[in-house]
């Protein structure tokens, strides 16, 4: 009786594993790199859908999509470590993508979609029409532009001389950088407030302080520009 139960459990587990493997086979695209371990670029051109990109300790780009592979809708190509992912209009598809940690990302979403990017050391260039962009543990230059959506960027503990430009029309923009980071900052919004726990050395005293702050932190260095029309702006110290 006990043996039967054991066999039954093993059979169920095997079945479940098989299904998972099957499911991954169906929706996974693995892209090999021309120069594994060297920096690369993920160049993604999407229509609508959410994207989660994570840096991992591997040497391949693993793309998991919510749709079965269909070359007419989703195409990939690789040349000299530049991986291109293109989605034809009007395909709606979500992606989970694993890339080596030293990857840069150039992502365009024509319509709408939320974007999450974690653990990368390359430059990040995100331009979407609508949707939230959330980045964590990034050590590279960052440019995020969304029309409507929150932008939250949390940089790596040791940030180098990076340029950061974050902008939107509506939605909160929040940037967290190391306490000791040297930077020239320009933070401006029209219908909300600019808040920072950094001491910002202003060139002149007559700046309107709650909508537009411009100056240096820790003596000046990296160029940081955060600009909104209707959204609040937060520049925070990394705790």
């Amino acid at each position: 009786m006990k043996t039967n139960i054991k066999i039954g459990i093993v059979a169920i587990v095997a079945l479940l594993c098989g299904q998972v493997v099957n499911a991954q086979k169906k929706h996974d695209l693995t892209v090999k790199l021309s120069h594994p371990s060297k920096p690369g670029v993920l160049n993604a051109d999407l229509f609508t859908g959410s994207v989660k990109i994570t840096g991992y300790a591997g040497n391949e780009v693993v793309i998991t999509s919510s749709l079965p592979n269909d070359p007419d809708k989703i195409s990939t190509a690789e040349k000299d470590n530049i991986v291109k992912l293109k989605v034809e209009q009007p395909t709606v598809v979500d992606f989970t993508i694993m890339v080596p940690r030293n990857f840069s990302v150039v992502l365009k979403i024509l319509a709408a979609g939320n974007v999450t990017i974690d653990n990368l050391t390359g430059d990040q260039d995100i331009a979407i029409s609508a949707g939230d962009v959330t980045m964590t543990n990034i050590d590279g230059s960052v440019s995020v532009n969304t029309k409507k959506g929150n932008v939250t960027v949390d940089m790596a503990p040791k940030m180098m001389n990076n340029a950061i430009t974050l902008s939107n029309v509506q939605g909160i923009i929040s940037l967290t950088i190391p306490t000791t980071q040297k930077a020239n900052v320009k933070l401006q919004t029209e219908f909300a407030k600019v808040t920072s726990d950094f001491e910002i050395e202003k060139p002149s005293a007559d700046q309107p302080s709650n909508k537009h702050i411009e100056g240096k932190i820790n003596g000046g260095g990296s160029e940081i520009l955060m600009r909104s029309v209707g959204g609040s702006i937060y520049l925070r110290k990394k705790k």
């Binding site: 440019s143 532009n145 029309k147 340029a163 430009t165 160029e223 520009l225």
Partner: protein
């Protein structure tokens, strides 16, 4: 054979320059003709008395000494002539008055240009930084957004920027496909707005901006610069605004009102 010819033959014989046949003929004549033998003896005596091989040789030292003396003499001559020529220049010659005047003018102009040379700190655009300038212009055409942002940020730190870079920035402001690049470019140009060309470029750019954020940012820049020429293009923009862009419309209207009241 004439005497003189015979004498030459004898000399040739003594210097071993005769062919075998000639030598044989001469030796035969020597045995048969006492007159010739007499002449031969005289010539031979004279030849051996003149033997140049026994003349004292010029030593290498004396040659060197002679060369050195000659060179010293030549140098003294040159030196004297150079000094006298230089001195001659400073000897006042009334017929060259005009030349003195021109020389003084040139010295004055050179001195003034060195003394009043502009301080070139933080200036992109003089010859010394043309390499950097080319690099910026090239990077502004890069296909990487981040690189273009960095190129514009580099210009942002500079006080004086030359026309090539201003033109490139104005083109970027109107045409760059990425809104963030246009945004940082506007910021860089705003800091150079003392330049009339930049100011005019900013006013002209209003009609080229199709995104709300850039329209609002440019309107804000116009208000800060108190640029009344921007009122008409801003009004044109307002007419094109969609009804759902409430915030943007409100901001543009406020800007136009403030600019009109200046």
């Amino acid at each position: 054979m004439e005497d003189i010819e015979l004498e030459i033959k004898i000399l040739d014989y003594l210097q071993e320059r005769l062919s075998a046949a000639e030598r044989f003929e001469l030796e035969k004549l020597l045995k048969t003709s006492p007159a010739f033998a007499q002449q031969f003896a005289e010539v031979k005596q004279a030849w051996e008395g003149l033997d140049l091989r026994k003349a004292p040789k010029v030593s290498a030292d004396s040659k060197t000494n002679f060369q050195a003396m000659l060179r010293t003499f030549e140098m003294q001559q040159e030196h004297q002539s150079l000094i006298s020529r230089i001195l001659a220049i400073f000897r006042y010659k009334p017929k060259y008055n005009w030349a003195y005047a021109i020389a003084l003018l040139c010295i004055g102009a050179l001195g003034a240009s060195i003394f009043f040379r502009p301080v070139s700190n933080n200036v992109i655009g003089d010859n010394a930084t043309s390499e950097m300038q080319n690099k910026i212009l090239m990077t502004l055409n890069s296909d990487k957004t981040i690189e273009r942002i960095k190129a514009v940020s580099y210009v942002r730190d500079k006080k004086n920027v030359n026309d090539n870079i201003i033109n490139a920035l104005l083109t970027t402001l109107d045409n760059d496909p990425n809104e963030n690049v246009r945004l940082v470019t506007l910021d860089a140009l705003f800091k150079l707005a003392d330049n009339a060309k930049v100011r005019e470029g900013l006013v002209n750019s209003i009609s080229h901006q199709h995104t709300e954020l850039m329209q609002v940012a440019l309107a804000d820049a116009m208000l800060k610069l108190q640029e009344k020429r921007s009122v008409n293009p801003l009004k044109t923009l307002l007419k094109k605004q969609d009804a759902d862009d409430d915030l943007v419309k409100k901001q543009l209207e406020q800007t136009v009102q403030k600019l009109e009241s200046i």
